[in-house]
């Protein structure tokens, strides 16, 4: 579903992403791990067509993001880090706008998509509040609702549980697990327990390079008996 081929991105003198390749199939939940500044967000921004790669490309559902970024954007649902949204709009107005721009042009179709997204993310109680008045957890859910509103075949989620309380984290994980049955999901995180909880595969990057691409069980088998964060530390040590 998502095929990432040798992506490279340089900012000034810093090579943020250096030849990262991997594939995500339908039904996969890929945990994207790495220390802060390792290039996770940059890689995701290149997959979603927000940043243009210096070399390499990403192919989503057979479409090359370098050749037809708008078509790729149609296929993807993307939750950017810290879930940006227009603060002066109400939840319903905001999701209505997203639905319209996602091609649901009739009032009935728009309404149906908004209802579905509001239901999935439990936003009904705040639907008429402006986004600037919402708590962090609700803002994150609005970002989520926006990403899955058009029922995309592939989801890219940049730290979807960041800033949520333990109950909300659980809820979001359930939601992701539930949706991943027929979707390809990439989620970045630096919470290692999250990877064990929901991911079917793990990728670790360090200093812009891929250092591991395996199942959580294989990762654990690298150092039997060790905790996950110890394995993580030994793999990304070069960052310290």
């Amino acid at each position: 579903m998502i095929e990432v081929k040798a992506l490279v991105k340089t900012f000034g003198a810093i090579r943020a992403v250096n030849g990262v390749s991997f594939t995500v199939r339908r039904g996969d939940i890929l945990g994207f791990l790495g220390p802060n500044g390792a290039g996770k967000s940059t890689t995701m921004k290149m997959i979603t067509g927000f940043l243009r790669p210096d070399a390499g490309t990403a192919i989503v559902d057979g479409i090359d993001v370098a050749k037809d970024p708008v078509a790729v954007k149609r296929k993807l649902g993307y939750l950017p880090e810290s879930a940006p949204a227009y603060p002066e709009m109400t939840v319903e107005e905001f999701l209505g706008f997203i639905a319209e721009i996602r091609g649901f042009r009739t009032a009935a179709a728009r309404r149906a998509q908004v209802e579905r997204a509001v239901g999935l993310t439990h936003l009904a109680s705040v639907r008429n509040q402006t986004i600037e008045t919402l708590s962090k957890g609700y803002k994150q859910r609005v970002g989520f609702a926006q990403a899955l509103l058009h029922d995309p075949p592939a989801l890219v989620l940049d730290e979807p549980t960041d800033g949520l309380d333990p109950n909300q984290k659980n809820e979001v994980r359930d939601l992701i697990r539930h949706m991943a049955v027929e979707k390809a999901v990439i989620l970045s995180t630096h919470i290692l327990e999250e990877v064990e909880a929901i991911c079917t595969r793990v990728i670790i990057i360090s200093k812009g390079r891929l250092v591991a691409d395996e199942t959580p069980a294989q990762l654990r088998a690298r150092q039997p008996g060790a905790r996950l964060d110890e394995i993580f530390r030994s793999l990304t040590q070069s960052d310290l």
Binding site: K45, T48, G49, F50, V70, A71, K73, R74, L76, Y78, P80, S82, P84, A85, Y86, P87, E88, M89, F97, I98, E100, I101, R102, G103, T130, Q146
Partner: protein, 240 residues
């Protein structure tokens, strides 16, 4: 191009979701009419004409249009919604045009709010309606050209203050080139043809004809091409 509709709608209604629109409209109306009444000698002239109203527009726009345009892109960059916008299936051209047209429509509304003044003039005397109509057209076109400049400078930064100062500076240069005081100084060092050439790039030179009732295609083309050129640069800046 079909994405311009929803973008336009969101942006235009966005002005009215915050107090900004109402403050702007009131300030615009009070200063434009106030200048005509107290500085332009609207009553003293004892003429059924709106010339003393329109003559201040190039100077009024110098401050008020950067105030309306500074947030166009700077705000999206600061809040991170630019990442949301450009991971939705829209092209840069659609986004730039949608936002520009919405802001232009808003400014047109601000200009047209002075229509009661025109009606009062018509009730008290018998003005030349052709001149009033061409003045309104000129003012709206000039607002579009100013706004193009402001949209461009707004895309250069995520700081609204910098965006405002840059816009005022750029517009001031474009204004001064045709200002009689500046042309007089220039005339002492340059031959007449050179002064005329420079003045050709000014808002004032092209706006003057409209206030005298002349709709010259050259002047219309000037304002539209200035807006078009700055919006083209705007796209280049955003795609960098």
């Amino acid at each position: 191009m079909q994405q311009i509709g929803p973008l336009f709608k969101r942006e235009f209604l966005g002005y009215f979701r915050s107090p900004v629109a109402y403050v702007f409209l009131v300030v615009f109306l009070f200063t434009s009419v106030g200048l005509a009444f107290f500085v332009g000698g609207f009553f003293k002239a004892n003429l059924a004409s709106m010339e003393s109203f329109f003559v201040f527009h190039p100077w009024l726009f110098l401050f008020l249009i950067p105030a309306a345009g500074m947030r166009l892109w700077a705000e999206e960059k600061r809040t991170g919604t630019v990442e949301l916008l450009f991971t939705l299936p829209v092209t840069t051209l659609e986004a730039v045009l949608g936002k520009f047209l919405a802001a232009w429509a808003f400014l047109t509304l601000a200009i047209l709010l002075s229509l009661p003044l025109a009606l009062t003039v018509g009730w008290l005397g018998s003005p030349d309606w052709g001149v009033i109509a061409s003045s309104y057209l000129g003012s709206i076109l000039m607002a579009g050209a100013y706004l193009g400049v402001c949209s461009l400078t707004s895309a250069l930064t995520k700081n609204q203050v910098i965006s405002f100062v840059l816009s005022v500076l750029a517009c001031f240069v474009l204004l001064c080139l045709g200002w009689s005081v500046f042309s007089g100084v220039l005339g002492t060092v340059l031959p007449v043809w050179a002064v005329d050439l420079v003045a050709n790039f000014s808002f004032i030179t092209h706006f003057d004809a409209f206030t005298k009732g002349i709709v010259d295609p050259k002047d219309v083309a000037f304002f539209l091409s200035l807006a078009g050129f700055t919006l083209f640069l705007n796209i280049v800046v955003l795609e960098r």
